[in-house]
């Protein structure tokens, strides 16, 4: 190989410096205007009255119970979303069957449903005037205006995320690796654990992070089914709205900043996962002979 050869390879596998810089500038500029400034504005409002007022707003028992409720709901729906997402993506990406695009479209549908309508739908079913309303009332089971309603509405709006992240990724990856694993005698679980999971980890993680952020931030659907009982069924986004409406701007934005911070926590989560995965592959690499042969 001559020096010019490797130079031209590098030239064609990476953009010229000026393109890189322009793209980075454009990307960062876009993010700054659309995400950075709004985030900054939220924190400016939250700290408008100083740190003590900020902390005071968050120490409020109603704010605290709203934070706990929001975290609880987000964690509760997580496993449901993961299991469904992986199952749906597996069926759709690795097999051919009729009506596949119909199925994918149905999975996408909750995104297109206005959150208000999503909430309304569950009122129509579980509300006092709804289909199951009289039966539920007779058995004294509370679904809407209680925790179950909030969980169901959150499940509905976060339903597509994991599946939608995984499908294009798994389709792009094809099924050769899994087929190889199976033909070498791996059981289904071994194949999934050793081949599929490492391949889809990033997509899965992004899906979970997105679903999680959405679960915590959801307002419209939850607002319809929550009942807004302070200290009981008031989630953090609902709390934010009420505080804002009653002219407690600092409290409202302080609570909103908590939600923003929770979103940034994914940064930590991602780093941890990244670190653990790297460690795992390192130990695997050490134990096994190199798998890739050119």
């Amino acid at each position: 190989m001559s020096a010019t050869g490797s130079l031209s390879v590098r030239k064609a596998t990476a953009e010229p410096r000026w393109v890189r810089w322009t793209l980075t500038a454009v990307g960062l500029g876009f993010l700054f205007f659309f995400l950075g400034l709004p985030l900054l504005a939220v924190f400016v409002e939250a700290f408008a009255a100083g740190m003590p007022k900020y902390l005071e707003a968050l120490a409020d028992p109603e704010a605290r119970s709203a934070i706990w409720l929001t975290l609880f709901v987000a964690l509760f729906v997580l496993p449901f979303n993961v299991i469904f997402g992986v199952a749906a993506a597996w069926a759709i990406a690795k097999f051919e069957f009729r009506g596949k695009s119909l199925l994918v479209t149905l999975i996408d549908l909750p995104f297109a449903v206005s959150p208000v309508v999503a909430g309304l739908v569950f009122i129509l079913i579980f509300g006092a005037q709804g289909v199951f309303g009289p039966w539920l009332a007779a058995h004294d089971i509370k679904v809407v205006f209680a925790l179950p309603g909030i969980i169901i509405a959150t499940l509905f709006i976060t339903f597509p995320f994991v599946a939608r992240e995984l499908i294009p990724l798994m389709q792009a990856q094809g099924k050769d690796e899994e087929e190889a694993a199976v033909s070498l005698g791996a059981t289904g679980w071994q194949m999934f654990r050793r081949v599929t999971l490492p391949n889809i980890k990033w997509g899965l993680l992004y899906g979970v992070i997105l679903a999680n952020a959405r679960a915590m931030g959801e307002f419209g659907a939850v607002s319809v089914v929550s009942g807004h009982i302070r200290g009981e069924t008031n989630t953090l986004p609902l709390h934010v709205e009420i505080l804002y409406n009653e002219y407690n701007q600092v409290g409202a934005f302080a609570s909103a900043s908590v939600l923003a911070l929770l979103a940034l926590v994914t940064l930590v989560a991602k780093t941890v996962v990244e670190w653990r995965m790297r460690k795992e592959t390192e130990t695997l690499d050490a134990a096994l002979p190199p798998e890739k042969t050119e």
């Binding site: 609880f72 964690l75 496993p79 009122i123 006092a128 002219y247």
Partner: protein, 333 residues
Amino acid sequence: MPRLISKLAAALFATALSLPALADASLLNVSYDVARDFYKDYNPLFQKHWKATTGENLELKQSHAGSSKQVRAVADGLEADVVTMNQASDVDFLADKGLVAKDYAKKFPTNASPYTSTMVFIVRKGNPKALKDWNDLAKPGVQVILPHPKNTGNGRYSYLAAWGYALKQPGGNDKTAQEFVGKLLKNAPLFAAGGRDATTTFMQRKIGDVLVSFESEAELIAKEFGRGEFEVVYPSLSILTEFPVAIVEKVVDKKGTRKQAQAYLDYLWSKEGQENAAQNYLRPRDAEVLKKYAGQFPAIKTFTVDDVFGGWAKAFPAHFKDGGSFDQIYSSK
């Protein structure tokens, strides 16, 4: 992860269970969104009063959100013992559904509304456009900020106030009133999402020459933005806004809380309850208390929805249902 979830669940259920254990009975008050300040002060007053008279510890839970959203929730099964709303049409809806007595307005004094307010103008310091009355708001070149007249409670009150003013002018009738309101709405550069959003638009984003708002919100505005930047203008005539309360019959019968619910609402008309209203800048019904706080409630001529529109049951469909006067103003046909 599962351990964390079960821990969280345990904590949540512990708090959910431990609270009622302290109280002998519990009431849920489902209310509109800016009433929180009022009930935050009122609830401890009543709890003390109830403890003193009956020895019972009463737990009071609050739910606040948009008024009609709240009554829909009650109709759909939110177990409110009492509702405290900012518009009769919302309680009417519950009466139609059989949750509230048909004659709820007669069950308590003063039309079941323990306090009132009215719609006033918030203008920029010094009133640079010299806006004095509703007809000034309909003049060309004036920008009016108000919440959505069809979809929000305060927007509807603002709309009816302007309509009623036009009706009471010499030669006023429904046709001239609709024209007048149409001209006034042409001056609105936007319809805010709610009362609070209208305030933010006017005060923080500095849009518009005048904000139409509840008198009681002017004080909240002062609390948030300071007194230095705005003035309150009282028009020659405005609408008396009533805030009806009612017992949700079905729920109190089921829970056995009728006694407590009745006392809770009755106490709103007590001296303490009326004082609390005045301190939250809501006009008390009690003449003595009103006199005591006369300094913060300038005299203003008002009309009620019942006087001019024959009640909400007529006003709502005529103006705010699809195809009503608001939609006619915005139809190109």
